[in-house]
């Protein structure tokens, strides 16, 4: 068995003084797609931010290993450069920074950090256009400032474009389905599925089962009150869709 891509062990984290994650453990191997479902306030978004290294989320115990390497002390850009990617639930608008400029800077900074040559302007442009086309991202969108004036669907497609260009080995998708209609959902899911491969791992965080019809997971976990309380295969997601999270939450308090 090779080293897991992502190995989270007994993770505790808090925001300000409030404990959010309370002993979460999870292992994602290469080629696997894991879904994390859970009620509001369970700690789903916190988990995604803690993995990506956002400031303000304090780890009070446990570990996060990426290919066997402890990453909890790394800053966000270092985590990105070794192959971690977080697709945001609410992608940030950055006025004044062009989408193409942003993408090129990100791609080249990651390449620099890994000791690779930077892409030249033409090579980059070609790669970006090729990646943008199946996502229905036009040249006009690439010229606009990052996410400024983008619809909800356009923002999510832009996240997938970044994921494609940066080619991470471990992707965390935080509620990628929120704010998407069914057509947009399909485009985004197709984009994600195109990136699946035997050496890649995905952690799909979602509130609803709907997304998992399109991005079919190998494993489904239920996150409640800061830890994984139940794991299973994709049928668990369907079960949850029927019964809701109430039973699980009752089970916790019982």
């Amino acid at each position: 068995m090779s080293t897991p891509l992502l190995e989270i062990n007994d993770l505790h984290a808090r925001v300000e003084d409030k404990p959010i994650l309370k002993g979460l453990s999870l292992t994602v191997n290469e080629g696997e797609v894991h879904a994390i479902m859970g009620p509001n306030g369970a700690g789903k978004s916190t988990l995604s931010y803690v993995i990506a290294g956002r400031e303000g989320y304090e780890i009070t115990g446990g570990s996060i290993k990426f290919r066997g390497q402890e990453i909890t002390e790394m800053n966000p850009e270092e985590r990105a450069a070794i192959g971690l990617f977080l697709a945001f639930q609410y992608p940030i608008e950055i006025p004044g920074v062009g989408t193409a400029t942003f993408l090129r800077t990100a791609v080249n900074e990651q390449r620099k950090a890994r000791g690779e040559d930077e892409l030249d302007a033409i090579g980059f442009l070609k790669a970006m256009r090729a990646a943008a086309k199946p996502l229905n991202i036009t040249d006009e969108m690439l010229k606009r400032a990052v996410n400024v004036g983008f619809s909800g669907g356009e923002k999510k497609r832009n996240e997938v474009l970044q994921m494609t260009m940066l080619a991470p080995s471990m992707c965390v998708l935080d509620e990628t389905d929120s704010g998407l209609d069914i057509d947009a959902l399909r485009v985004v899911a197709d984009g994600v599925n195109a990136l699946r491969g035997p050496d890649k791992g995905f952690l799909v965080i979602t509130h609803y089962q709907r997304l998992l019809d399109y991005i079919v997971p190998d494993f489904v976990h239920v996150l409640a009150d800061g830890k994984i309380v139940k794991s299973g295969d994709k049928s668990l997601a369907l079960e949850l869709e029927k019964t809701g999270y109430v039973d699980i939450q009752q089970g916790l308090t019982a």
């Binding site: 850009e77 977080l86 992608p91 950055i94 004044g96 942003f102 900074e109």
Partner: protein, 397 residues
């Protein structure tokens, strides 16, 4: 009182004995010294000088003027210095005369007149070749520029002076004239700069200014803009990057004296370390100046808790049918945006630089419509980037 009078007389006698060759300059100095004794300098108790302490300006050191990045675009044809105004070969259609008025109206102008070093008056005819580049290396110089009917000019002004420089720039736009004015401030840290800029815009004339402040030292720019005939357009933009002990004060008064004029002002300041930025912007819309369209927006970023920004937009309206707005914002860099960029692998320093460049960049947008403006914008962007890199390096040390 009698002793003080005597002291002034002695001073004036000394000035006369040590007068420069140029009689006009000598007269200006004597007149300035006399007026200064009477008027004094404004203290911080005066509202217009509430945030700027003139005493700090008087302690400026003489060192060496800096070089201007705008020289890459156009070699300066006029150099202002402690030795006066030196006029080189001017573009065709630009004429110069020696004398202009040192216009003493208050303590500040009296101080300048008292230290007068030189003056020049320029006239721009229709069809003049562009652009004109004035390099300001210091001294106390008065420059008058008249853009004649339907003439067009791109004026580049590089203020790179050491010591205390005091410049009076009086601009008159005749009917239908158009002046595009780019101002660069890039001086030694221990320098001080008291600049007064007065602009009078004639019928259907256009005045556009884009200022970039890279190294302010101690700087106060007082702008007095008069929209004096119908159909005037004015745009003034400034981007300031302040660090260390920099003090930059932009106090602009815009007077809409008559109907059917518009003015747009956009000021952006970024302050790090112990820097202090001041933006005082008054728009006055006179009685009868209907159909005025006047807007002022001042936005600031504080990079450190030790930096200070004061912004005071003011609007006084005495006309009925007007569209006016003014506003000011101040904050820190957007933490969400910073995390977003870093999560994509962009190192923190570079992410901050990107966000700051983006914050300042719309100040440069008018340049896109200027002849050769893209090149100017590229030079200024690069200079801002270099300055920002230096600021971040300094902070990391």
């Amino acid at each position: 009182m009698a002793d003080q009078t005597k002291f002034v007389d002695e001073g004036i006698a000394w000035l006369a004995a040590n007068a420069p060759q140029d009689a006009g300059i000598a007269d200006a100095r004597v007149a300035g010294a006399k007026a200064l004794a009477e008027l004094g300098l404004p203290s911080k108790r005066v509202e217009a000088w509430k945030y700027t302490d003139l005493r700090r300006f008087l302690g400026a050191s003489n060192s060496n003027a800096k070089a201007s990045c705008l020289t890459d675009a156009v070699s300066p044809q006029i150099t202002l210095s402690k030795g006066g105004a030196m006029v080189g070969a001017l573009p065709s259609g630009v004429a110069h005369a020696d004398r202009t008025d040192f216009a003493i109206t208050d303590g500040l102008s009296a101080l300048r007149s008292g230290a007068a070093t030189g003056s020049v008056a320029l006239t721009i005819e229709e069809g003049a070749a562009e652009p004109l580049h004035i390099l300001n290396e210091g001294g106390a110089n008065a420059v008058a520029i008249t853009v004649k009917k339907f003439a067009t000019l791109t004026l580049m002004e590089s203020s790179v002076a050491d010591g205390l420089s005091q410049t009076l720039l009086s601009i008159t736009l005749e009917d239908g004239a158009k002046l595009r004015h780019v101002r660069l401030k890039d001086s030694p840290a221990d320098s001080a700069d008291l600049t007064e800029l007065s602009v009078t815009v004639g019928r259907d004339a256009t005045y556009e200014q884009v200022s970039v402040i890279l190294n302010a030292g101690q700087t106060r720019v007082t702008v007095d803009a008069n929209l004096s005939a119908p159909g005037c357009h004015m745009r003034m933009n400034a981007a300031a990057l302040l660090d260390g002990q920099d003090h930059f004060d932009l106090s602009a008064r815009t007077n809409h004296a008559i109907a059917h004029c518009d003015s747009h002002q956009l000021y952006k300041m970024v302050a790090a370390d112990k820097a202090h930025g001041v933006m005082q912007g008054l728009i006055n819309v006179a009685e009868g100046a209907d159909d005025t369209d006047a807007h002022l927006l001042s936005k600031s970023l504080l990079l450190d808790a030790t930096a200070t920004i004061h912004q005071k937009p003011e609007l006084t309206i005495f006309a009925d049918e007007v569209v006016c707005s003014h506003g000011a914002t101040c904050g820190a860099l957007d933490a969400d945006a910073l995390f977003y960029l870093r999560s994509r692998g962009i190192p923190e320093r570079q992410a901050r630089a990107l966000l700051i460049a983006a914050f300042l960049d719309d100040v440069l947008l008018p340049l896109a419509d200027w002849p050769d403006g893209e090149r100017l914008a590229a030079i200024l962007r690069e200079a801002l980037q270099a300055r920002f890199d230096a600021i971040v390096k300094g902070a990391g040390a």
